[in-house]
């Protein structure tokens, strides 16, 4: 939970070659196993050919704030899907088994692609800490470069402090900027939600 820290960990865009060697924020496509899908099949490819950007939305079936973002993520999926953006619903918590998530997705009418991040490799790669939280990667050849990590919007200021509606749509702005090849703005506040239940080290 980050609401009180105010600190935001961002991966700033840095030269590609440099990142290749030093940063986990860039991976070679199809090189890693990214958890499993709901049928238990390993997910190897986050981006199918033609994908321009990948969005990971970190979710938890039992987190109320994460659930309140379902309509917003569905909206962004619908808006940006046709423009080459692949949105993944990433479930990092050990309690979110295939059965639990399947039931949850049906209840919330989530039709997007889901990944059970069983070894939390996506959590590590995206530096996510809470649900709901999002990360945006641009596809550059066979690699992904993280250009955004943080809150979806500013509706929640902290647990218990809520705006009647979001005024600043950080994630949407980030995706738009990424697609336009422009510098991606940082989130303007910390993500607010439920701590990811980290696996024992």
């Amino acid at each position: 939970m980050r609401s009180n820290s105010g600190s935001i960990h961002m991966k700033l865009p840095v030269p590609l070659a440099f990142l290749m060697f030093l940063s986990s924020a860039m991976w070679a496509l199809a090189a890693t196993r990214f958890g499993t899908d709901l049928r238990g099949q390993p997910v190897h490819d986050l981006a199918i050919p033609g994908t321009r950007a990948v969005v990971l939305f970190f979710a938890a079936s039992d987190c109320p704030l994460s659930n309140r973002y379902v309509p917003e993520i569905a909206r962004l999926t619908q808006e940006f899907g046709p423009r080459g953006v692949r949105v993944w619903w990433v479930y990092p918590n050990p309690g979110d088994t295939a059965e639990v998530v399947d039931k949850h997705n049906r209840a919330y009418a989530i039709s997007g692609d889901s990944i059970l991040d069983t070894n939390q490799s996506l959590v590590k790669l995206a530096h996510a800490t809470v649900t709901p939280e999002a990360a945006v990667f641009v596809v550059e050849g066979k690699t992904l470069r993280e250009v955004y990590q943080g809150r979806v919007d500013d509706r929640y200021i902290s647990l218990g402090q809520e705006r009647p509606q979001a005024q600043h749509h950080d994630l949407e702005l980030a995706i738009t900027a990424a697609l336009a090849g422009k510098p991606v703005p940082h989130p303007q506040g910390p993500p607010v939600g439920c701590s990811i239940v980290f696996l024992p080290k």
Partner: protein, 759 residues
């Protein structure tokens, strides 16, 4: 027959009658772990071993959290097990340290409230240390058993369950939703409600709910085509019906208090034709939620013996908050005309409210806090009930001072950038109310309802704030009429009619006031105008016709009255008053058996119908069924304690039963209500004389004759008392006075002769 039929418009504001916050239901309380709420549990010291779930933390969680945080509860997740608490530990730490949870807005020390949910500093520190030291389980076997919660009615099977006409579906996302769901009361009898339980259908999305009793189903009638789906809006403003019947109870539901149990002797009432309105605040959850709300009602046969009232300080008229203003203040005050106990309060604003203060300044200058909320949050609003009733004597000035923040820095501000905001019903408008539940105390037996004085003071204050407010003017006039100040009432109704010249309802009320003031011709004309204006079956038209029919009974025009009442029954909804009115017309015409049938039918519709009870009492007394008559008249007085006729009649019945002290008490109550009624003093004199209290008897008889010097019987009786006391000369002149008035007064003649023989 004496029933009033005056109109009062309720200004229910946001409220409805709301229920008191109530102790948790029995099944939960039984499962409560040791250690009362707020008390620090016996945890280890800072230097000792880390606190454990089993020994230290579970009791705190079970006391403060799990009433909502259980499977199927209003909380979004369960905290019943160690595993649950461990999973949510980071959030628990965050929200207890920020005091977001448990939700409790009032500042400690500013109002002494019951059911305080605020976590004590020691419990808060304990939770923090438990999490900081790694959420230790401890000896699992030693942990207290988890409370049991289930989805059944907390108080057993309700006497009546009301359902919404159609389930309401809350969208998956978007802003919060404020909706009014209408639940018609289907019964044909009046019932008193001692408890109510609300099952909203989807507790996790219902933030809070107010229940309003809509006496005239006004909201349903205003939305004939779409009421089944519920009406959007945050505030309610409905018609309070046609009797002085102010909203009296906080029927406020919040997630951890599903059952609202009223204090002994303070049930609330539902009449045929009433609707309950469930005014709910909903928070979308991410998926569509269906609310199939149910309201369970628990009846009591006993009418209330204590009549509280809700009143509000408010300055909505001043709410015109400039964009960007971070410190916009409104203030209101109201001087209490009677002694009251304050039982609870309900501060209310929308998203811009920030600092909300309420206090009372006693006549001796002492300041007593009612409530202080330093950082208002609409999501956590609640009714707050005082731990002990807060006594405030007459002359106390109630104050409210609310501060609003319409700057961009207020995260709750619905407008970015801020805009000018005024009072209104939508959530993005504002409101500024401080509702109080007050119970008049130290009241005079037999006096008019003391709440009418409060209503009068409240409405006068509202008119000072907003002189053109017709509702306040109407209510003021009604409050005056209710206190028997008919001429003043008629004046205020006339003023009201200047603003709305052709309002059938105000004309009807004016007619009632004129009738009360003895201006029968004017009253008839006002009723006639109202009937001509209203549609035959609308409520104003029906009431004018009722009043005209009743006027017929009062002036012994029984045949016309009967015709009017029968017409009324054909055209308008059947109610107890119309039935008992018809009964009174028949009784007047000497058709006693037919009359009795109508009275019994009236009592089927409303067991507390005064007219039916009173007249059945009179019929029984005339038939020599004295015991039965006493019972009926006693019930009649419960329904209307301020009826001098019922007191007088009951006194006569008691006198026949040789219950002289009871008879004396009834006559004294009647005399307090109508001090200028010579007959009451005369009767009281007779009873006192029979009890051997000669001096008092003599004084009452003199009082009676002062009020009515032309009473030959009275002079004769006075003479008899004087003669018994040996005052022969004075007795003689009293008998002679009787004979001056009535030369053939046989007893006076005989007494005079006896007096002469004695000498």
């Amino acid at each position: 027959m004496k029933s009033k039929r005056l109109w009062v418009i309720g200004c229910a504001g946001t409220l409805a009658g709301l229920g008191l916050l109530v102790a948790l239901a029995a099944t939960q309380a039984a499962a409560m772990p040791q250690g009362p709420a707020g008390q620090a549990t016996a945890g280890p010291t800072e230097n000792g071993a880390p606190p454990t779930w089993a020994h230290d933390v579970a009791p705190v969680i079970y006391t403060h959290c799990t009433t909502c945080h259980h499977q199927g509860g209003a909380g979004p997740f369960s905290l019943l097990s160690y595993a649950d608490a461990k999973r949510w530990a980071p959030q628990i730490l965050n929200v207890t340290q920020s005091r977001f949870m448990p939700p409790w807005l009032p500042e400690p020390g500013y109002g002494d409230f019951a059911d305080v949910r605020r976590l004590s500093d020691s419990d808060r520190a304990l939770v923090k240390r438990w999490i900081d030291t790694g959420v230790t389980l401890g000896d699992a076997k030693a942990a207290p058993p988890a409370p049991q919660y289930d989805n059944t009615w907390q108080m057993g099977k309700p006497d009546l369950v009301l359902n919404v006409a159609q389930p309401f579906t809350l969208p998956a996302g978007g802003t919060d939703v404020f909706r009014n769901l209408i639940l018609p009361y289907p019964l044909k009898q009046t019932h008193y409600i001692r408890a109510m339980e609300i099952k909203p259908g989807a507790p996790q999305v219902v933030h809070h709910a107010n229940v309003l009793v809509d006496r005239s189903a006004a909201m349903r009638h205003a939305h004939p085509d779409d009421w089944q789906t519920g009406i959007p809006g945050m505030e309610l403003f409905v018609d309070a019906g046609n009797k002085f019947d102010p909203d009296s109870h906080f029927l406020f539901w919040k997630p951890d208090t599903p059952a609202l149990v009223e204090p002994e002797g303070m049930p609330w009432r539902l009449d045929p034709g009433n609707d309950l309105i469930l005014n709910i605040h909903l928070k979308p959850s991410g998926k569509p939620e269906t609310l199939d709300a149910e309201v369970g009602l628990y009846f009591t046969p006993n009418p209330p013996v204590k009549q509280p009232m809700l009143l509000a300080l408010e300055r909505d008229d001043q709410l015109d908050i400039p964009a960007g203003d971070a410190k916009f203040v409104i203030e209101d005050e109201l001087t209490l005309p009677v002694d009251v106990d304050v039982l609870g309060c309900y501060p209310h604003a929308h998203y811009l409210g920030h600092d909300m203060q309420g206090w009372a300044t006693l006549p001796n200058g002492e300041k007593k806090w009612l409530v202080w909320i330093k950082d208002w949050d609409i999501d956590r609003q609640s009714v707050y009930r005082y731990r002990e009733p807060l006594f405030l004597p007459a002359g106390t000035v109630l104050h409210m001072q609310y501060t609003y923040d319409n700057s961009a820095e207020n995260p709750h501000n619905p407008h970015v950038p801020p805009v000018r905001v005024r009072a209104g019903n939508r959530s993005e408008d504002e409101m500024g109310h401080l509702w109080l539940q007050v119970l008049p105390v130290n009241t005079q037996a037999g006096a008019p309802d003391p709440r009418l004085k409060i209503e009068e003071a409240w409405m006068r204050r509202r008119l000072e704030n907003t002189p053109d407010d017709q509702v306040s003017l109407y209510n003021l006039a009604s409050a005056l009429a209710g206190q028997g100040k008919y001429a003043e009432a008629a004046e205020e109704f006339e003023a009201n009619l200047k603003m709305t010249p052709n309002d059938a309802r105000t004309l009807t009320a004016l007619g009632a006031a004129e009738e009360g003031a003895g201006q029968v011709a004017l009253a008839r004309a006002s009723y006639g105008r109202a009937i001509a204006l209203g549609k035959p079956a609308d409520s104003a038209g029906c009431d004018a016709r009722f009043n005209l029919a009743r006027l017929g009974v009062r002036h012994a025009e029984y045949a016309e009255a009967e015709k009017e009442f029968r017409g009324l029954l054909a055209a308008c909804p059947e109610d107890a008053e119309t039935r008992s009115g018809l009964g009174a017309a028949l009784l007047g015409a000497g058709r006693t058996d037919e009359a009795a049938r109508e009275f019994h039918r009236a009592l089927e519709l409303d067991a507390a119908d005064f007219t039916a009870l009173y007249n059945l009492g009179v019929i029984a007394a005339d038939a020599g069924q004295t015991e039965q008559a006493a019972g009926l008249l006693e019930s009649a007085l419960k329904a209307w304690p301020a009826s001098p006729d019922a007191h007088e009649k009951l006194a006569m019945v008691y006198a026949q039963l040789q219950r002289l002290p009871d008879a004396r008490a009834q006559l004294r109550a009647a005399a307090a209500l109508t001090p200028d009624d010579a007959q009451v003093h005369s009767s009281l004199s007779q009873v006192l004389a029979a009890m051997g209290q000669s001096e008092d008897a003599f004084a009452e008889q003199k009082q009676a004759l002062k009020l009515n010097p032309q009473d030959a019987d009275g002079w004769n009786n006075l003479g008899a008392m004087l003669a018994r006391g040996g005052q022969t000369e004075a007795a003689r002149s009293a008998f002679e006075r009787a004979l001056q008035i009535e030369p053939d007064h046989a007893q006076a003649k005989a007494n005079l002769a006896r007096l002469a023989a004695r000498n």
